[in-house]
């Protein structure tokens, strides 16, 4: 009743091929956009921005990127942390080298550089697959982190080996550094997330996305029907790394402000983003959002419930967090391999038939 395709007639090709062809989806999308752009910036404060909203927005970009590679193209990558580090360091070098250029351009360029690196490390995917490839991407993870740790040029020869985001502006509003207002950083990340999500959504329902999915479902068969595996896999690596690089740049420049590469972009980060897309749903853009929201919320909720309400020591809460995340991953893989996105699909199916399910 609430959710239906019936009666939603299209009279032009443009209507028929729009991003959200079903009315309900489209209105929901507009409402979410309106709330995100029109309401939240006015009520946001520092705590909400730093504890929940910024990490959610940034991880969502990374999750979309990884989902393109793992969920749509079937190439498992454990190098997300390393690629985020590439984005962060590229952004840092650009920010310090060209202080007058807008941050938008820096972040996009950082994404582009990460895409190049991603393609480079994606090359072995033409020869190896499955978890052999997963291990090969570990090489990227460890090598890149080591590189940023050891080569002083990347951190501008600073004594601590850290990188610190200098204060930069977009249209006269401070975006990075400690003095940036919460609403500005929020909007900046939100714009990137929105654009990335729209691009990803449209890529995945077009020719490119179908090629990726063909490769994922059976690469040899896809090759026989004329999908070029070289192009399909490398475009997936490029697009995915671009998104991951953008999220890494934002993570460093807007969210954290100062980064020690081994701690922030270590192997744990790779797993975290991988878990987001497993819990959210492999091969679903909505799933990337849901997974990112879930895994950003979980530690915060646990901390509020465990440490603040029950008064448990924080280390126990942190360990419980590990147990719950691990348990959830296994549960989702067993019970609902398509993740939260599938639950949403089931809910829509129910809404479609409600109140007369027979």
């Amino acid at each position: 009743m609430f959710y239906r395709e019936a009666g939603d007639f299209k009279v032009s090709y443009v209507d028929d091929s729009q991003t959200f062809p079903i009315k309900f989806d489209r209105y929901r999308y507009y409402v979410v956009l309106a709330v995100a752009f029109g309401i939240i910036p006015f009520i946001i404060n520092d705590y909400w921005a730093n504890a929940l909203l910024l990490p959610f927005l940034i991880y969502a970009i990374a999750a979309i990127g990884l989902n393109i590679l793992v969920g749509y193209c079937g190439q498992v990558s454990l190098g997300t942390g390393g690629f985020m580090a590439v984005g962060a360091y590229a952004c840092y070098k650009l920010m310090t080298a060209f202080p007058d250029v807008s941050m938008f351009i820096h972040v996009i360029l950082a994404g582009g550089i990460t895409a190049l690196v991603g393609v480079l490390f994606g090359l072995p995917s033409l020869r190896i697959k499955g978890f052999y490839l997963a291990v090969a991407t570990l090489a990227a993870q460890f090598f890149l982190v080591w590189l940023f740790n050891r080569v002083p040029w990347f951190y501008n020869y600073s004594a601590s080996g850290q990188i610190n985001a200098p204060e930069r502006e977009v249209f006269g509003i401070i975006i990075t550094g400690p003095n940036a207002p919460a609403w500005a950083t929020y909007l900046f990340c939100l714009i990137f997330l929105t654009v990335c999500a729209v691009i990803a959504r449209n890529l995945t329902r077009g020719t490119t996305g179908r090629k990726w999915m063909a490769i994922r479902d059976m690469d040899i068969a896809a090759e026989i029907i004329g999908v070029n595996p070289l192009r399909a896999k490398l475009t997936a690596f490029a697009v995915s790394s671009f998104f991951v690089g953008v999220s890494g740049a934002l993570f460093f420049a807007v969210y954290l402000g100062a980064v020690e590469v081994g701690e922030v972009f270590g192997i744990q980060k790779s797993f975290l983003v991988l878990f987001m897309i497993i819990i959210g749903g492999l091969g679903s853009i909505f799933g990337s959002f849901a997974g990112a929201a879930f895994l950003v919320l979980l530690p915060v909720v646990l901390k509020v419930v465990g440490a603040d309400m029950l008064g448990w020591p924080t280390d126990i809460v942190a360990h419980l967090n590990l147990v719950i995340v691990g348990g959830l991953i296994i549960m989702f893989l067993i019970l609902e391999p398509h993740g939260l996105a599938q639950l949403w699909r089931v809910a829509k199916e129910k809404l479609r038939l409600w109140p007369f399910p027979h």
């Binding site: 499955g130 419980l320 147990v323």
Partner: protein, 328 residues
């Protein structure tokens, strides 16, 4: 003899010893992979879990003490007894068997027939779960493990090499013990899989699940057994690494080191795990020795992976692995 050459020889020897330890972890992977086609990422965390349990039992720690104290406001930490090492090892082994059963019963049984990559991700989840449980059970502080293995420089080698080369090699006693134990372990495993009924059943399952089922082999039992054996290997590796560098979180990262070992040696080959381990051990130590100082050191973190990566491009199945044949 030139000094550099002598140093290089010492580095190679130490690399061989380190390689043995890598091979020890890699063995656990190979066992599970061969018998059930599961790539068990949790192997390293199993080693950590085993080592922590061993320390906990030896010191008479109360399991979940922190959690109990936090919930009920009590202050219990120790039972107040110390368990001798041998008994503690046996008890730990019992815990590992229990763990193997639980993993099989609650996780792997529900995932039979899934794609390998899904199983792989499930074991990543398992690794997180196990790490959290281990920390909750025994606390996350760094512990020392001492089961009476000899440690420190081997004086005999030091002296004899000093007499030959005019420079004494530094070889840790523990590494020598580890090498001996690893050799024994491999021999025992090979004997087990060749000459016992259960071992043969295990190989049959590895060969063909359905054929094994049809001749009356219980898959459930075999899988519990395989996970137990992997738990045993994890325990041995945990003891070695724990004695060497303390029982702490980084122990679980040696699992990651075992991955390139496996890629070099091939996922399905026990000799491959050994040879791969030795190549990686020697390779990374030599690389660090020769090239490391030029590029800022700590190349050990990534050398193994990059070596495996380059190797994979030319020979995807590893040195001793079975050739991968794909059909539509």
């Amino acid at each position: 003899m030139p000094d550099q050459l002598v140093f290089a020889m010492e580095v190679i020897l130490n690399g061989l010893m380190a390689g043995v330890l890598y091979a020890l972890v890699a063995l656990g992977f190979v066992l599970i992979y061969k018998a059930s086609g599961i790539f068990n990422y949790a192997q390293g965390v199993m080693a950590l879990f085993a080592a922590m349990t061993l320390v906990g039992i030896m010191k008479g720690q109360v399991p979940f003490a922190h959690l109990i104290n936090a919930t009920f406001g009590t202050h219990i930490h120790y039972f107040g007894w110390n368990v001798p090492a041998l008994l503690a090892i046996i008890l730990t082994m019992a815990v590992m068997v229990l763990l193997a059963w639980a993993v099989q019963r609650f996780v792997m049984r529900h995932l039979v027939g899934q794609e390998p990559i899904i199983l792989f991700m499930a074991t990543i989840g398992l690794a997180y779960l196990l790490e959290g449980v281990a920390d909750l059970m025994w606390g996350s502080e760094i512990k020392t493990l001492d089961v009476g293995l000899p440690q420190g420089i081997n004086l005999w080698i030091d002296e004899s090499t000093f007499n030959i080369f005019g420079y004494g090699f530094f070889i840790d006693n523990l590494d020598i013990v580890a090498t001996v134990i690893a050799a024994l372990l491999v021999a025992a495993l090979v004997a087990f899989s060749q000459y016992t009924k259960q071992g043969r059943a295990m190989r049959a399952v590895a060969d063909d699940h359905q054929a094994a089922l049809s001749v009356g082999i219980s898959l459930n039992f075999i899988w519990v057994m395989v996970w137990s054996v992997a738990g045993f290997v994890a325990l041995v590796a945990g003891i070695m690494w724990g004695t060497k560098s303390g029982v702490q979180f980084s122990l679980s990262l040696i699992a990651l080191k075992a991955l390139p070992v496996l890629m070099l040696g091939g996922f399905t080959s026990i000799p491959g795990a050994i040879v791969g381990g030795l190549i990686i051990g020697v390779g990374e130590k030599l690389f660090e020795f020769a090239i490391g100082p030029m590029v800022g050191g700590a190349t050990e973190n990534w050398f193994a992976y990059v070596l495996a990566l380059i190797f994979l491009v030319f020979r995807p199945q590893g040195l001793f692995g079975e050739k991968i044949i794909e059909r539509v």
